[in-house]
Symmetry: C2
Amino acid sequence: MPADPSPDVSAPAVAAPDPAPAAPAEPGRGRRTPRPSGDDRERAILATAEQLLTRRPYADVSVDELARGAGISRPTFYFYFPSKEAVLLALLDAVVAEARLRRDTALRHPAPDREGRWRQVIASVQEPFRSHRAVTLAAAEARASSPAVRDVWSAHMERFVEEAAAEIDAERARGAAPAGLPSRDLATALNWMNERVLHTTFAGHGPAVAEADVVDVLLGVWLRAIYGEPHPR
Amino acid sequence: MPADPSPDVSAPAVAAPDPAPAAPAEPGRGRRTPRPSGDDRERAILATAEQLLTRRPYADVSVDELARGAGISRPTFYFYFPSKEAVLLALLDAVVAEARLRRDTALRHPAPDREGRWRQVIASVQEPFRSHRAVTLAAAEARASSPAVRDVWSAHMERFVEEAAAEIDAERARGAAPAGLPSRDLATALNWMNERVLHTTFAGHGPAVAEADVVDVLLGVWLRAIYGEPHPR
DNA sequence: CTATCGTTCGACACCCTGTTGACAGTCTCG
DNA sequence: CGAGACTGTCAACAGGGTGTCGAACGATAG
């Protein structure tokens, strides 16, 4: 059994978020002390978690496995994280932050045509979900029993819904899109559709859209729901 | 502590599905013996489970609570069900059966106008989900870690997707709907949208559509996605 | 050399699951 | 009516998971 604290993981979600700011102390969740000494251990736990989550569901991963994967004992794990849930939260925060970054970049460099702009909207949700599917699937699973995970996820969705609703309103105001359902309701339905369809595509359970087609399918529904005239015949 | 085996529950999902057929033996999941003697106990367990699930998530309900709620000890619980999962499965089967029944009834009595027909499609999914929201929410939660729950759910969705795809093809064939996305992909996306939007509406977490509006919103998206002309301007 | 502090883990208490074996009713048949 | 079979019941156990406590270890400062 190798005690090497850095297992080979292709692309962990941790990705050194804040090198400069060095948040003084976050007494809520996270490790107990912000000293930089055990940082490698913390990263090893996160990397181990993301790796294990690609193999089995969140509920089937034990704290002991997380600890052993990071080369430490179970009690030592609790020195770095207060629970298994906190590890998932840390992973999820990183993925959400990446999604936000990608989204903001897209907003600053909008595509020239409207189809391209909506494709950016959809792709910015899809990309981080796809590259860290294990974390996202685990978060979806834990959402039901963990209020903290649920809140992070809800806040994330809330921003996407607001942005999409604003975009729909803008298109209607400039006459590009016809009136129809309240923009907020429409944006809510479309965003949840994306979430669920992407989930099934990546999880592969139940009827699903092929991974290569999924953005085109979602985009097709968005365009018709936003721009389609109600009743052609 | 009352030993009364029938706790007061408003409308349990059990609903005595087959009084006459009396299936000889289902050796897979379910209770070990089909004799009618302990039937009340079995129903009491199911009723207790549905009642408890309205108060807390599936993961937080223990076998011991289920047993005590039904007026029996924990080992006795295992005489009736092999696990907590089997209880949820039995509850879910009843809800799914009810949804199927409602759907088949709608198919035999189609509304005269196309909007009414699509409303039937959406409402037949929504109604059982709504009247047994605790079971459905629990099933959604357990789906991630229970292959059996996942399979039941997937099969259920698969049928709805197939039926919706066939209906879309029929509308296109008779010239009522324009060509567009592959009908199967479109039906998949729309059905998952319904599932997720209904889930958030009933669970009340994250951005959601008001319960009174949800069928209208979903119907609006379906109609535009199916009948809307791609680009009006 | 010693005091301190960050870090580590053996051992513990507790909760939950699923199984075993003994036992109590009841029903049937000789 | 009494032996046997079968349903239903539970105390007790084994096993595995979580989270905590306190002793101990090593580096570093005084």
